[in-house]
């Protein structure tokens, strides 16, 4: 009896403990929701971020409700404490910063603390984001200090040179128009005079427009630049008078990739091109059934913890600490996609641009065709490596991998994937296969019975 009571008490205590844990976590997350349901702007000390996300540097901000800043280890990340107005936006269920209304830098020294010891004291530095492929390019690089200023000056010089050339171009163009008008007048005059055959008048040459700078650099901004090894830290801003700035204390979790330098594929199935598949993990196999056309787009990738990486992209994001995700860092270029089967290379596929063309008429449908520019400025829908899986593929299994064009067709490590052609028609036979233990049991039973009878 006593034992039963004890068991019940333990069970109740366990339930209470779990419930308090869940409520505590929920409360922590929704702490601000009740406050911010009112459409009020609240002045807060926040951290503005420009952090390395595995691919490039992306911006964001850490409101008061988030206690931890997530950073990738051994990579530069720029952070800055600011005062701004924060409001809750119910549609996206996120805190937003009204930077235009208030954007005040907090001055002071950023202290980085590890194991209760201040390990770094940082001052603000000039930082710029450089986009080597231009303003709309996906790539960007963070530069700091002297290097940042140099890049900015380089961009400014390039920009000035461009505008100077542009001015010259407009002048030259006006000159060209005048010459062109004169040319037409001369032609008209001589034709009207009855001249026939070639007129031998020099045709004015149209001036070439100057090329805009092919890179873009943002204006230098003052940030604290952190570059820390993996671990847990604390940061705070110490003001000029030696006091700690209220609300500037945050935890910093610096994490690293679990696996690096992998090769992932985005696969566009020809029969439903808008629903892309991803084959990122080397352990994954591509199972195909019947005829299909697949377009492969290979990427370099690193594997990060889902929660940490989601929080890095936006500290208000959700995620699971138990999950891992591959982050595509950049497209892999200058490679062949090689199809291997029957102990030999079956095909070496080149990357090509493709265009999705809707079937004319009221019916739904489309064709994916190799892209050929039909009018100036036309762009392909996507580029990729086309792999045709025909119904005639006799082997059970094929392999694909990437071979570098630059390194004498060397295989790219981690790019290998298996393609298995499934025999879907045999699915119903699986149930018959389940019966074989009963058959074995029957045989054992019969043998045993015969033995007993003997």
């Amino acid at each position: 009896m006593k034992k039963s009571i004890l068991k019940i008490i333990i069970s109740i205590l366990a339930l209470i403990f779990i419930s308090t844990q869940v409520f505590a976590q929920e409360k922590k997350e929704e702490e601000g929701v009740s406050i911010n349901l009112a459409p009020l702007r609240q002045e807060q000390l926040v951290y503005s971020l420009n952090v390395f996300d595995g691919k490039g540097w992306s911006g964001g901000f850490v409101p008061k409700t988030e206690n931890t800043i997530y950073l990738i280890a051994d990579k530069k990340s720029a952070i800055c404490a600011k005062k701004t107005l924060v409001y809750f936006w119910p549609i996206t269920a996120r805190y937003m910063a009204a930077w235009r209304t208030l954007n005040e830098d907090i001055e002071g020294t950023l202290e980085v603390i590890k194991d209760e010891k201040v390990i770094k004291k940082l001052q603000k530095e000039d930082t710029v984001l450089c986009y080597p492929e231009g303003y709309w390019g996906e790539k960007n690089v963070l530069y700091k200090g002297e290097e940042a200023r140099n890049w900015y000056n380089k961009y400014k010089d390039a920009e000035k040179k461009y505008y100077d050339e542009l001015k010259k171009y407009y002048d030259a163009r006006m000159e060209y128009r005048k010459k062109l008008e004169k040319f037409f007048e001369e032609v008209k005059k001589r034709r009207e005079a009855g001249e026939k055959g070639p007129l031998n008048i020099e045709i004015p040459k149209e001036p070439e427009p100057p090329r805009a700078p092919d890179f873009y650099v943002t204006e230098p901004k003052k940030y604290y630049v952190l570059n820390l090894p993996a671990g847990r830290y604390k940061i705070r801003v110490r003001a000029g008078d030696g006091t700690i700035v209220e609300g500037s204390e945050k935890d910093v979790l610096v994490f690293t990739a679990r696996r690096r330098g992998g090769v992932g594929y985005e696969i566009i199935p020809g029969n439903r091109w808008t629903q892309k598949e991803e084959c990122n993990d080397p352990a994954q196999t591509i199972y195909a059934a019947g005829k299909n056309v697949l377009y492969f787009r290979p990427y370099s990738q690193d594997e990060y913890n889902e929660l940490y990486h989601n929080k890095l992209l936006d500290p208000q994001n959700e995620g699971r600490i138990e999950n891992w995700k591959w982050v595509h860092t950049e497209p892999i270029k200058n490679v062949y996609l090689t199809l291997f089967g029957r102990e030999k290379i079956l095909d070496r596929i080149e990357e090509k641009p493709y265009k999705v063309k809707q079937i004319p008429g009221p019916e739904l449908g489309y064709n994916i065709v190799e892209f050929k520019e039909e009018y100036p400025g036309e762009k392909p829908t996507f580029t990729g490596y086309q792999l045709i899986l025909s119904e005639n593929l006799r082997e059970k299994s094929y392999k694909i991998y990437l071979q570098s064009k630059e390194k004498n067709n060397e295989n790219l490590s981690g790019s290998e994937r298996e393609i298995r052609i499934i025999k879907k028609e045999n699915a119903n036979f699986l149930y018959y296969l389940s019966l074989f233990p009963l058959a074995v049991g029957g045989v054992v039973f019969a043998i045993r019975r015969r033995k007993i009878e003997k």
Partner: protein
């Protein structure tokens, strides 16, 4: 004297294990349990193939591992329940008391049970190998090295489940309470493990607020039962295969062995202190 005791103990274990093993092999229960586990696996695999049929393409790591572990879980439950029934029945009917007047000790008795179940599992593993080879030939899903590794992991999962079952049986006295506790706890562990794995596959943005609450609750419970539930050893083993790294694979095996040793030692201790009477 010590050497003689060890020999006697080993001899007793051998006799007990042989008796139990033959009894299980000559009965229909084992074959029916394997049949049910294969039936469930076939159902899962058929749905998997159906998915490929509809989409023409399916990307997955080791599609045979999930049906294999479903079979392993069903079989482990069968083994542990049969074992628990036999311990409780022998205790209830007084057979255990009679046995303990002889050269049978708590250690040799429980080890006999454990060895029987493990030997049975090795025989069942042979059935698994044939079934999955058949599946591979029929469907071309592939009998890979990863599947062989999964077979190895399954041995240690079975060991964890069996030792857990023996531990629960040593705690409880009667057949009915033994079965109720065992099924209750194992199903709860299985449910938590299953829900946690389901939630991990759903993007958090897709979860409604009450689902997120449930996910967090499950997450916290899972965190606490992580080292107690034998099914967590399965998750870790699966992940080590998926990572393709030997270190976590071997570490998981080590943890499973430690789990088994601790639970068996506790079971022996409980049986000694509680006595053999119902």
């Amino acid at each position: 004297m010590e050497e003689k005791e060890i020999f006697l103990s080993a001899h007793t274990m051998k006799i007990l294990a042989k008796r139990e093993l033959l009894s299980s092999l000559y009965g229909w229960g084992l074959y029916i349990a394997i049949f049910i586990s294969f039936l469930v696996s076939s159902f899962i695999l058929k749905n998997f193939l159906q998915g490929i049929r509809e989409n023409n393409i399916f990307i997955s790591s080791y599609p045979l591992n999930f049906p294999l572990f479903t079979s392993v879980v069903i079989i482990s439950l069968y083994l542990v329940i049969v074992s628990a029934i036999s311990i409780s029945r022998e205790r209830e009917q007084g057979t255990l008391e009679v046995l303990f007047y002889g050269p049978v000790s708590s250690f040799s008795f429980l080890m006999g049970k454990y060895i029987t179940d493990m030997l049975l599992y090795f025989i069942i593993l042979g059935f698994f190998a044939i079934y999955f080879l058949g599946v591979s030939l029929l469907t071309n899903l592939g009998f890979t090295i990863a599947l062989v590794k999964a077979f190895v992991v399954s041995i240690f999962l079975a060991s964890c489940v069996i030792s857990f079952g023996l531990f629960i049986s040593s705690l409880t006295g009667k057949v009915r309470s033994s079965i109720v506790w065992l099924i209750g706890i194992l199903l709860a562990f299985l449910g938590i493990w299953f829900l946690q794995n389901i939630f991990l596959r759903i993007p958090s943005e897709a979860l409604s607020s009450w689902m997120r609450y449930l996910q967090k609750t499950i997450g916290i419970i899972y965190h606490f039962v992580n080292w107690v539930s034998p099914f967590s050893y399965l998750s870790r083993g699966m992940e080590s295969i998926w990572l393709g790294s030997m270190k976590p694979f071997l570490l998981n095996i080590l943890y499973s062995v430690l789990y088994t040793v601790i639970l068996l030692a506790l079971s022996v201790h409980i049986l000694r202190t509680k006595g053999v009477r119902a």
